[in-house]
């Protein structure tokens, strides 16, 4: 029997505001425990929240980037529950009137087609602190540095149909928030967190199955694995005559499995009600238009422009546009060397491989756009061959020597002197009479052997086109 997986994602994005959502405390990551918790964050009696306008601005920016309705009057609510890392005993969130309403974003499927995924809403809320259960001899430690940090919870429609689609959606979201500069989206550090609502149903069914919510998925790879695992668990369960129960499950990356956390059927009653310490947030048209004017070129528009302006393939354009930093890097390189296609090949090829190998982001690239542009420039003006360029590229790592200095000092300059090449060709022909005979007897493949020998003799520096032409004419004799 064929099954279909139905997925909706709830993504918490930590907004990159300088201070917390409702207090002036700093939000820097990694400070010593409880050093970034002021009287409001500690829920001292008598303290009151004041909305951070930067957080609101970022939320609206996100809303406009995904073509969402912006709530003209958004309302904060209290979500009540007891937990030691929730100092007030309630979380301030938005239930009925979120700042960002219905929107959508486009993802690229594996076959290259586009699919639009609905965004139900995105609401602003405060983060909780952290409970630390180790190192306290039977006690728990509480760190409230994170308590009160601004989050944007982005809720998708249940329109994702596979783990791969879910990853594509998440990556697209990641790309957009980074483009907007509203979060670093670092999943490992928790500045982007994903909960997945997963259910299965028989292919063609119109009703949704019972869903399980999977929490604690902290990388793109784990999103895929967790969903695949959970969908299979549900399918196995149903095929064995069982029934999926609505519950929260925790993904354990070490064991690659999900396990039950608590049943939502006996879920907390959060007793939401409007937060009386804050006034409703009223947003007017002028504010929205001012934010809209600040929006950068977004990934989809950039990809389309790369295709039309630089004649890149959809694929290359998509890869380059997926990150604003990558796209900017590429455009810098292309402008410097004047060859967009070659630049795209280098950025998505050798440079990307290098970054992957060293687990670096483009912002941390050991080779600046200026230097890569200079390198490609030397390929274009035939100072070096593409092959030698790879050697130069390797030689550029770990130092700031200029491309030209490296070519010069390592003697990598391409040989274009036809006299010198001719001499090489003559020597190779003279040294290999048997292969010459084979070639002349019609064995064309031997030609590659001569190219190899001649290149070797030139230590790779012979201009390949010239070498090719000379060998051809000499061999034909």
């Amino acid at each position: 029997m064929s099954w279909e997986t139905v997925i909706g994602l709830e993504v918490h994005v930590q907004l990159d505001t300088r201070s917390k959502l409702f207090s002036g405390s700093s939000t820097t990551f990694g400070a010593p425990p409880n050093t970034q918790a002021g009287v409001y964050d500690l829920a001292m009696p008598g303290t009151l929240p004041v909305l951070n306008k930067e957080a609101l601005h970022m939320a609206v920016k996100f809303g406009l980037a995904v073509d969402a309705e912006i709530g003209r009057r958004s309302v904060f609510d209290r979500k009540n529950y007891f937990y030691p890392d929730l100092p007030k005993g309630y979380q301030v969130s938005q239930l009925q009137f979120p700042t960002v309403g219905n929107g959508s974003l486009q993802i690229t499927l594996d076959d290259g087609t586009q699919k639009v995924i609905g965004i139900t809403r995105a609401h602003i809320e405060e983060d909780a602190g952290k409970s630390l259960h180790e190192d306290f001899q039977g006690f728990s430690g509480i760190d409230l540095n994170r308590a009160g940090t601004a989050l944007l919870e982005i809720v998708s429609e249940p329109e994702l149909r596979s783990a791969r689609e879910a990853v594509a959606y998440l990556k697209k979201l990641h790309s957009i928030i980074r483009y907007l500069g509203i979060s670093d989206g670092n999943m490992a550090q928790g500045s982007m967190r994903c909960d997945a609502n997963v259910s299965v149903r028989k292919l063609g069914a119109t009703e949704f199955g019972t869903r399980a919510e999977i929490k604690n998925i902290n990388s793109f790879r784990f999103v895929e694995k967790a969903i695949l695992h959970e969908a299979q668990r549900q399918i196995d369960l149903i095929e064995d005559g069982g029934r999926v129960i609505q519950e929260t499950r925790l993904y354990d990356a070490d064991r690659d499995e999900t396990r039950s956390m608590r049943s939502k059927e006996v879920a907390n009653d959060y007793r939401y009600f409007p937060e009386p310490d804050l006034l409703p947030v009223v947003i007017d048209e002028a504010y929205i238009e001012a934010v809209r004017a600040e929006l950068p070129e977004l990934p989809d528009a950039k990809r389309a422009r790369f295709v039309s302006q630089y004649a890149l393939s959809e694929y290359d354009a998509g890869v380059l546009a997926s990150s604003r930093a990558m796209a900017d890097y590429f455009e810098d390189v292309a402008r410097l060397c004047g060859d967009a296609k070659l630049s795209a090949n280098w950025v998505t090829g050798d440079l990307q491989a290098l970054l992957n190998k060293s687990d670096l982001e483009i912002e941390q690239s050991p080779v600046s756009a200026q230097r890569l542009g200079a390198l490609i420039g030397r390929i274009k003006d035939q100072t070096i061959s593409s092959k030698i360029a790879k050697t130069v590229f390797e030689a550029m790592l770990g130092n700031e020597h200029s491309v030209d200095d490296i070519i010069e000092s390592q003697g990598l300059k391409q040989v274009t002197d036809s006299g010198a090449i001719e001499k090489l060709v003559d020597e190779v022909i003279a040294a290999n009479p048997d292969q010459v005979a084979q070639y002349r007897a019609g064995k064309d493949k031997v030609f590659a052997f001569f190219i190899g020998q001649a290149m070797k003799a030139s230590r790779g520096k012979a201009n390949p086109e010239q070498l090719n032409a000379l060998l051809l004419s000499k061999l034909k004799g």
Binding site: V39, L42, A43, M44, P45, G46, T47, L48, P49, V50, L51, R78, N80, F82, P84, P87, K88, G89, Y90, I142, D269, R271, Y272, F273, P276, D277, L278, L279
Partner: protein, 487 residues
């Protein structure tokens, strides 16, 4: 004995009749002599008071003083005061030393007022008799067998017994006005949003408002000039600057249109209170005012709506008292749940627990619409009734309470009867309006003691200056506010 008002003390200080230090020492001596009987103070900050008094005298000598510089003051123990015990009348905070100052405290400090201490109150401001305090009941200076009212009962008793020149209070459903009426003094609740709530321990956030408890409307104006005004730390505090409340105190009442709610003169109002109200209306008429009846058709629903909204907000506001970070924590908890349960069971008194349960119930899934939403709808109707009334009148005058102060212990077994005593004050909080209670008569108790009667003047939203003006003009032509109990 005639009362020492802030206005008079301020003039005496200015004339050099005595120093702030001498005045402060006099008040501290009175507290030492009489607080044991009235239990008005939870904490007396003697050392701080003497230091502040000396500083106030120095400031006055330099000519850098305002009207309240050197005037001894008491703060309701609901206001956080840095490095001072701030208990909110609860065992839960019996050990809590606040790490910061409330805006109200900050502003009185900046004005050079002298803080004598923190006054007793109903636990977390939940009560109308000051009997729910963990620190014991407060006694009414007019008759120590009787309650001073609540929740700002300690502040009211301290002002009435002249254990301070002036005091701060807070009012969520009548907690300034009702004790002012019971203690024969002046208590003013400004419009919601007129005074910052920063540092004021929350009971019901959408209703709580700080205000002056003092001996005259003029004193209230002097205090308002310090307390009122925008504060960026409270989002619900209005941004428009406060006017000078002294400037309009002497405006004429000629042509003033007074409305008397017909609902307030109906069944349930004590005869002595009604007589005092009628006599007061005659005084206003003699000053050029006209009196007409107004209709507040939904006022009878105010107590019910209030006892949904206030407990609902309180149930969340009091969640932070969990034993984790400060305040009371039960001994040797077995686990997290045990810690929560026992900390809160042992740390809160029964009235607070009752309201947390009521509020939690009202917000629960399946009941929210029937209780919380319905109560908010009633709140809007009550506000609309007032809006309509203020199209025809400038001020609404009625009784503050149906009766004079009751005896300690008299209403303890019947919370609902106690709640109903707030029928005239609660609607004013629900509508967010300014209301003042001023003394306007007295009744004689069976033991021969005289018991004060208060009337309430309610103004339109942010019409604080007008309300104070009307109350001041009344006090210029009567002397109820100057009567002092034998201490």
């Amino acid at each position: 004995m005639t009362r020492r008002t802030v206005a008079e003390l301020s003039r005496s200080l200015a004339r050099g009749e005595f120093s702030s230090l001498e005045l402060t020492q006099d008040y501290l001596a009175r507290i030492r002599a009489h607080n044991a009987l009235y239990n008005a103070y939870i904490t007396v900050t003697e050392e701080l008071a003497l230091t502040q008094a000396a500083a106030a005298d120095a400031r006055r000598a330099r000519g850098e003083h305002g009207p309240l510089t050197g005037i001894p003051l008491a703060h309701k123990d609901i206001f956080c005061m840095q490095d001072v015990l701030t208990t909110c009348g609860s065992k839960m905070l019996a050990n809590f030393v606040a790490p910061y100052n409330a805006t109200v405290v900050e502003r009185f400090n900046a004005a050079g007022a002298v803080t004598l201490g923190k006054t007793n109150m109903d636990e977390f401001a939940m009560g109308s008799s000051n009997e729910t305090s963990f620190f014991g009941a407060v006694r009414n200076p007019w008759d120590p067998e009787r309650v001073p009212g609540g929740s700002s009962g300690g502040s009211a008793a301290a002002v009435a017994a002249d254990l301070c020149a002036m005091a701060t209070g807070t009012d969520t459903g009548g907690s300034i006005r009702q004790p002012a009426a019971f203690c024969g003094i002046t208590g003013f609740k400004p419009s919601y949003g007129r005074i910052s709530r920063w540092g004021m321990i929350a009971f019901a956030s959408s209703l709580d408002q700080a205000g002056p408890i003092c001996k005259s409307a003029e004193d209230a104006a002097l205090m308002m000039n310090v307390m009122a005004g925008p504060d960026s730390r409270d989002s619900t505090c209005v941004e428009t600057p406060a006017p000078d409340y002294m400037a309009t105190l002497n405006d004429s009442l000629q042509g003033l249109r007074i409305g008397v709610p017909k609902q307030h003169l109906a069944k349930g109002l004590g005869a002595e209170v009604e007589a005092a109200l009628q006599a007061a209306l005659k005084v206003f008429e003699s000053l050029g005012a006209t009196v007409k009846e107004v209709d507040l058709p939904n006022n009878h629903l105010s107590v019910s709506a209030y006892y949904v909204i206030a407990p609902a907000e309180a149930s969340a506001n009091l969640s932070r008292f969990d034993g984790v970070r400060y305040g009371y924590r039960c001994a040797s908890p077995a686990n997290l749940e045990d810690m929560y349960k026992r900390t809160r069971s042992e740390g809160f008194g029964s009235e607070v627990k009752r309201r947390i349960m009521v509020g939690t119930y009202a917000l629960s899934a399946g009941y929210y619409d029937a209780y919380y939403i319905k109560a908010q709808q009633i709140r809007r109707l009550i506000k609309q009734d007032f809006d309509k009334a203020f199209q025809d009148v400038d001020v609404i005058i009625g009784p503050t309470t149906p009766h004079t102060a009751f005896k300690v212990g008299e209403k303890n077994d019947d919370p609902v009867t106690m709640y109903l005593e707030d029928i005239y004050t609660i609607g004013v909080n629900l509508a967010g309006l300014p209301g003042i209670s001023i003394p306007a008569g007295s009744a004689v108790a069976p033991n021969g003691r005289s018991l004060p009667i208060g009337i309430q003047l309610v103004g339109n939203i942010f019409a604080e200056a007008r309300v104070l003006n009307i109350a001041h003009q009344f006090q210029q032509h009567t002397d109820w506010h100057l009567q002092q109990p034998e201490v």
